[in-house]
Amino acid sequence: MASTPSVKKHMQSSDKTTSDHSKSPIVRPSIPEGKSMRTADELAQATEKISVTDLSFYYSENRALTDISLSIPERCVTAFIGPSGCGKSTFLRCFNRMNDMIEGTRVEGEILLEGQNIYSPRTDIVSLRKRIGMVFQKSTPFPKSIFDNVSFGPKIAGIRRKKDLFEIVERSLQRSALWDEVKDRLSESALNLSGGQQQRLCIARALANDPDILLMDEPASALDPASTARIEDLIFELKEQYTIVIVTHNMQQAARVSDQAAFFYQGLLVESGATEELFTNPRKQQTEDYITGRFG
């Protein structure tokens, strides 16, 4: 354990002064070739979908997030990375106000969705959640049929005609790349699907609401490599239409799917920027240590 003290020292120094790449061979997540990742310039030009300013979040007295400011561009994938317990999920839940359901929580600062503060007292949480879909880490299908799972959102939004519902279900399942596997058994229980299929079902369920934004909390953490690859391909396709925010522990995955990345540590946003840059040339030592797997 000779390396421990040096890691500590790195973490204390906030700004990276020397680049000592030559000292240790660094295994960086490779940025895939040929994928249509947005460059830093493209990111800068993209419209701002969500803007977070000085956001702090408290679980009763415990501050879980401190003064976070971040801009999330439209039709891009933003990845949140950072060690366990650093507040990624908490931050993600701030966007669709799922944290409101936990008693004793408090938010300071603001999150603007297309210029409107989602924490304004005038915000209708129900319509907010219809615009911002969420996929949870553990797939959570309702104990009902596949059809009922996907049609739940539109149904409670007031769509009653079976024909309309069916169209939405088909479109959503097709977009989530599950249609071909389930089209002959829509009335079967969703609990009979495999883990990867269930996760895609949950994506379809969120898409059925026709949201602008998709929040995904470690959507592939319980899946095998093949299913993970399918979900990643899916994210790539979906970003043409949706603004996606994804939490992931897998650096390779973050490098593969995201355009922008944000690194969190102990409730602080340490660094954010175009994935290409953050992964190849991080500005902070902590970020570098984390993405190269030296701590976390």
């Binding site: 949870f136 959570t140 409670i156």
Partner: protein
């Protein structure tokens, strides 16, 4: 040699303890089954010759060979239907409020504690309450309505507790998913939580109604002991019920009435078993689809 256990030899002491415990449990099970079989066998022997279609069709009578159980059977059907109508919406509603709506406060804890205690109160106490409240204060007299309301008091705490248990068994992820899709609390409860907990709620409801069916004490307290030669037709009619009729017959000195009582018990058992069968059926049919 090393202290690692040889996989082919069990420790002798472990083996004996294991055997003793298994036999003790087996013995306990057998004792229960034996007593139950003995009881039912005894009743079948006693009531066998007396159970007939006429027995179910005839009105009560002072003469054992003319007496039937019609008024008591119909009285019980009235009572159970009314009790179900009152106690199910109230009980499930209260459980929904406590589990899904009420803020987790000290106030809620107090209510919870009270309900748990009420479920343990002897039914005769509810009978006395029913006598004071429904029969006297509300002047409902000795009507089926009084009886059903009293039985509602008896089963309400049990239904609330059973429904709460069923609601608590629904994982929170279901609620979170529904909220995340923009469902209101009402939509979450109505479309997701309630259907998912329905098998559990139904089982609880049917089991508590079975208990209500067998209750005699609270009904006697509200005055259902009277001789009633007719089937109730209105809520305000007087009534009698199966357990009361059985009680009346067993307290007669003549041997024949004891046979009648046994036949009455058989009728009661048939009704009870069918209700429990429904509970099992519901559990099986809807419970299978739901796995977390």
């Amino acid at each position: 040699m090393s202290s690692k256990p040889d996989i082919y030899t069990t420790k002798r002491r472990g083996r004996i303890t294991n055997m003793l415990f298994t036999s003790a449990c087996f013995l306990a099970t057998m004792t229960c089954i034996f007593l139950l079989v003995l009881l039912i066998w005894n009743i079948i022997i006693q009531g066998k010759g007396w159970l007939s279609w006429e027995f179910i069709e005839r009105l009560p009578s002072r003469f054992p060979d003319k007496a039937g159980i019609k008024t008591a059977l119909w009285g019980s059907i009235w009572l159970i239907s009314l009790t179900a109508m009152f106690s199910v919406p109230l009980g499930v509603g209260a459980a929904l409020y406590l589990e899904e709506y009420a803020p987790r406060s000290r106030w809620r804890k107090l209510i919870q504690l009270n309900i748990a205690n009420l479920a343990g109160v002897p039914s005769i106490v509810y009978g006395i309450l029913g006598l004071g409240l429904f029969v006297r204060a509300l002047q409902l007299e000795r009507s089926v309505l009084s009886g059903a309301l009293t039985l509602t008091l008896v089963v309400l705490p049990i239904i609330i507790l059973a429904s709460q248990e069923a609601l608590r068994a629904v994982p929170d992820s279901i609620r979170r998913s529904a909220y995340a899709l923009g469902a209101t609390r009402w939509q979450t409860v109505w479309y997701q939580v309630l259907p998912a907990s329905l098998p559990g709620i139904m089982t609880g409801v049917i089991l508590s109604l079975s208990r209500a069916l067998g209750e005699a004490a609270p009904l006697i307290a509200v005055g259902a002991m009277a001789y009633v030669p007719f089937v109730p037709e209105r809520l305000t009619d007087e009534f009698t019920a199966l357990p009361i009729q059985i009680f009346i017959w067993t307290s007669r000195p003549q041997e024949d009435f004891h046979h009648l009582a046994a036949a009455g018990i058989l009728v009661l058992l048939v009704v009870l078993v069918s209700m429990n069968a429904i509970a099992i059926f519901v559990r099986h049919k809807y419970g299978k689809k739901i796995r977390w």
